[in-house]
Symmetry: D2
């Protein structure tokens, strides 16, 4: 049984992590921290917790949350994780960061270019692992510092991994068109998350400039074993949770068993994905006739992937869907914890998505 | 360990019951039945179940679902439960009906007036219990036929129970203004549940004529020990799950400890409710400053109740909120099963509502 | 042809007023003012105006907006209108205030109690008229200072006017349960208007304390010719525009032509309302079988009213619906302008609500 | 002044056309037809029309609607327009079809392949014109049979026209990722438009198989003067009205004035579009910093287009947004009528989109 500390427990990712860890069979205690709300009870901020012991929990400061914990999660704005990572590493604790700070490993230049900040402790980044279990499971098992992937990256990368690793996708001209629910923008009210601005609208944003771009590019390059040319567009949709990514790539000549015809090629693509992911506990390759949607993965750690072929018979269309707060943040963080601690990988995150 | 049969497993209530029972620690097997979809796999109808054993389950016919089960739930349209009740009763099985058929006990006249159908087996109704645990827990413990309350009735009745039982509410002039999510209208598409008709609108319906009216009236009369004059208006709101009832009653003279002033009287009312419900596992009386909303009970078996006083200092305003598919249908059915089987009343239904 | 100035043109009410006046046949010029955005172009704030001359309009300061205008509208937070009213009055301009500052006439005590501010220029309030055309049309025609009613008050008052004036409603025990779209909370993002907090939820707020309470009470008393006992509850619903008020009152004995039976009494009530409002251009009394909803009045100046009787045959249920930004704010302000200037009352506000 | 007949007036497109024509300055009378509802009053089907003369209009049969009209619009399911076109053509009336029947001109093979139906009167198709005014204005001016473009095609084609005509876009590898509101699926309730299935979800559908694919391909080929390789994916989003298309293409080498750098190339692309569309009354090319969204064109005949460059500096991202029921159906039909009758092209369709 482990004690887990959550630094930044009152943001959306922290609150979701709290909810998940609360039902985790191997977690005996939670230590919740918030810099701005120390001393406050959780139920004041999250009335859904009323009537539970957790609701009565008082938020502590960062030091207290770290000191008694075996595992420390940070769910803070970017740029604040290095110090926590250092403290945890020196004390032999497992540290899992939900911000972008530990997603770039030794590639400080990219981090600096997109996040405007240099590494203070580059040696910690050299030790860290990018926490996408489907890609890095064995490294995660040995890691003590894990950079949990971003929500858009998780969805896009799982949608492309088999195609890139198996050489089915041409490495140029990949398009990732992603639609996200508004919880992805966090708990802080802004003009762009004001209800009347979001309801009834699709709003693309930060086109060509979103910070998840280099993270996706880096992971796809690892998957493909070579640089990949891709374009990524994020969009806010009027929904609370979930990301649906519609991904386009050209099928490399001579792959898919030489099938011809849109349907046969769709089926061959689907089979390749199904085989590739057959042992993954949280990736579901959907059967013919189904299309992935955030509705069917909501509140679960699943990533659903459906495979299609455009009318030209040459362009594959992959639809990949996750719950941005679970597989895209808190659930995947717990999955990483499970792997790093040698627990059942599904412990505490095998929630079934509700039908509606 | 018990085997549970669900007759009508593919409607919304049946699907929610399936999801809940699947995680119930005392349920070893589910037998799902659908008259129209026998032979079909569940995952075809509910893609959220893909990747689970349950998704591969084939729907069976009604007889097979009943025969191997210890407990049988029916989630059918009104008017079809008597035959199932009889079969279960004769075979010594526990039967819990989610339709209205067993909500009226021996009051066949009311059932006939509002549902247009007479009892075929009045003796079964005489044996049945109205399954609102907070009102009838000890009778439920001994019952073999339980009529699970309607969604609107559950929400309204729990909002009024303390006030009526304690004599705080005057028994005339009670108003129940209820807003429901669209899952309450079921899985069948209709003009009134077509997305463009619902989105961005509040739509009152069946004013003065909704069939939940006599059910509410009957339960309130039991609570008050005398007939109660009340008005109930149902309304569709653009949300998936949940009911929020705003309930108005005049405070009886001389109650609330003789307090005066809006705030003091609100506090006295709140304390009376908190004391009344203090041992109830699924009713949360909210503290001062909080207002009940479906958001904070979503996907849980909780009923949240908040207490307020109008500016006149004489009219109490109670807000009561449930998830219509959980406490308002499937969750309460499981709560009734737990009580009737002598299990922990919270088994399988202690889900924490997500924060967002 | 008139020139209109709008003080506070960049809030939601100001922007809606701008849109409406732009198509008004008797308005030749608009002067838009914003204290915080002076010098900015409208299209920067409202991209919907791109490609229109209006989009290129630069916001001016308050003095310039007033000085060249025949009619001045203020759409500011409460407490800022007196000075503008004085300047307009002295210069012989028509002034219409969309805030609460001129809704209370000589009743300074009530204004002070609910808004925490005293009158600086009581003589201006004595000259002002409460701008509900259906109630005060002839006074509005002569007024130079008009206090435009609040959104909730407009909806509630029009739902009750015939019943109170004709003596159909008992004057005690009236309940007004109102649901509003989120634009009613204004353009400024807040926690309670953050998309994830609003979507999929009904949220009652300020129960017993909302500032529209005394405004409603005052108007109902004028309608009834005597004080009225009523309770008002506002609620945020996941919709952009619109208010739906469900209103309950006891039918006074001996009214409704002595009809009996729920349906006959509903019909009698409906006829009384239809007759009462038969010359009103913006109130539609719906036929039997229809229920008022914000969907059917959206973007129009209509108030739809439908009449129903509860199952008890004694409690009337009136549903009243408006677009909170049109009849509840900007449209009604233009209606008042039309009356005060002797124009066709419908000029510029006869927009047909879209079907969907 | 003209009389207009609408065949299929009670579907969503017909109802929207009715609403628009009702305010058209050159239309003196409307003749509304519905095969299934003949004799019924419009307000029964569309309560938003209550209180208007139009609401009292009785639906007539098809023959009567045609016979007295100068212009006939058909808004019927696909496959029913040829007979009406013939009748109108022989009687010298202008005919505008909102279905797909007259969108393919002499290319019967494509129509037959995607719609499963052959032409009965090929000579009428040879005379017809594809009604995208920005592409075919002069032909429309002389046409008597006009095939009004589909909603997705209008949005995609206007987003790509300048890039293809000016040779900025490479003609291979174009991706059109489109998100539509649910009114696009029509007025008939179905499982996929049931509120709980749509709310809070993005649902891609008919991937690689949607019937708008060949229509888009044909128009893009005309624009480019050569075949174009493109992929189109439609998706349902939880919104009532509107389409947002995110469009990707590779910028052809040597274009955009030889600029380099993401921002400079975005600006050059934007200028090229702005110049190309500078005389178009209904296309707005947005300035730097703005992104097209359905919110800003709602209820208007505008198509908003914003231009962006991906982080690779080589892939253009165009966002194109329309109201699917206006520029995507009824508004564009009126625009075509205006052109064909020699009226002001903006007559009756210059509605300003509301800000919220």
């Amino acid at each position: 049984m482990f004690t887990c500390g959550i630094i930044g427990a009152t943001g959306y990712a922290g609150a979701e992590l709290t909810r998940i860890l609360l039902s985790h069979p191997d977690v005996k205690e939670l230590r919740l921290s918030s810099s701005s709300q120390a001393g406050e009870k959780m139920k004041k901020l999250y009335p859904n917790l009323a009537g539970r012991a957790l609701g009565e929990t008082e938020l502590v400061d960062q030091e207290r949350a770290i000191e008694g914990s075996d595992v420390v999660f940070a769910a803070l704005p970017h740029g604040l994780a290095e110090g926590i990572a250092a403290a945890c590493f020196e004390a032999g604790k497992l540290f899992i960061d939900i911000s972008a700070d530990f997603r770039f490993g030794t590639d400080e230049a990219t981090f600096a270019a997109w996040y405007g900040k240099r590494y203070a402790r580059p040696e910690l980044h050299a030790l860290s692992v990018y926490g996408l279990p489907e890609l890095n499971r064995s490294a995660i098992a040995k890691a003590r510092i894990i950079g949990n992937p971003g929500c858009y990256p998780t969805c896009a990368e799982l949608g492309l991994f088999p195609a890139l690793r198996l050489g089915i996708a041409e490495r140029e001209g990949i398009v990732i068109d992603a639609k996200s629910g508004v919880t992805g923008a966090g708990r802080e009210p802004t003009k762009s998350t004001h209800y009347p601005e979001i309801a009834d609208s699709i709003v693309p944003y930060k086109i060509g400039q979103h910070r998840h771009t280099p993270e996706i590019a880096a992971a796809l390059a690892v998957m493909a074993g070579a640089p990949v040319g891709m374009v990524f567009t994020p969009q806010l949709a009027p929904m609370g949770r979930g990301i649906v990514s519609t991904i386009y790539f050209k099928v490399a000549a001579g792959t898919l068993g030489g099938t011809s015809g849109r349907e046969a090629r769709s089926a061959a693509l689907r089979e390749a994905y199904a085989e590739f992911y057959k042992d993954e506990p949280f990736v579901r390759v959907l059967p013919e006739g189904s299309v992935a949607t955030n509705k069917d993965v909501r509140l679960s750690n699943y990533c659903d992937v459906s495979l299609h072929m455009a009318h030209d018979g040459r362009t594959a269309v992959v639809v990949s869907a996750i719950d941005n707060m679970v597989k895209g943040a808190a659930g995947q963080a717990v999955q990483n914890m499970n792997i790093a601690l040698g627990l059942d990988e599904r412990a505490g995150i095998s929630m079934l998505p509700p039908a509606f």
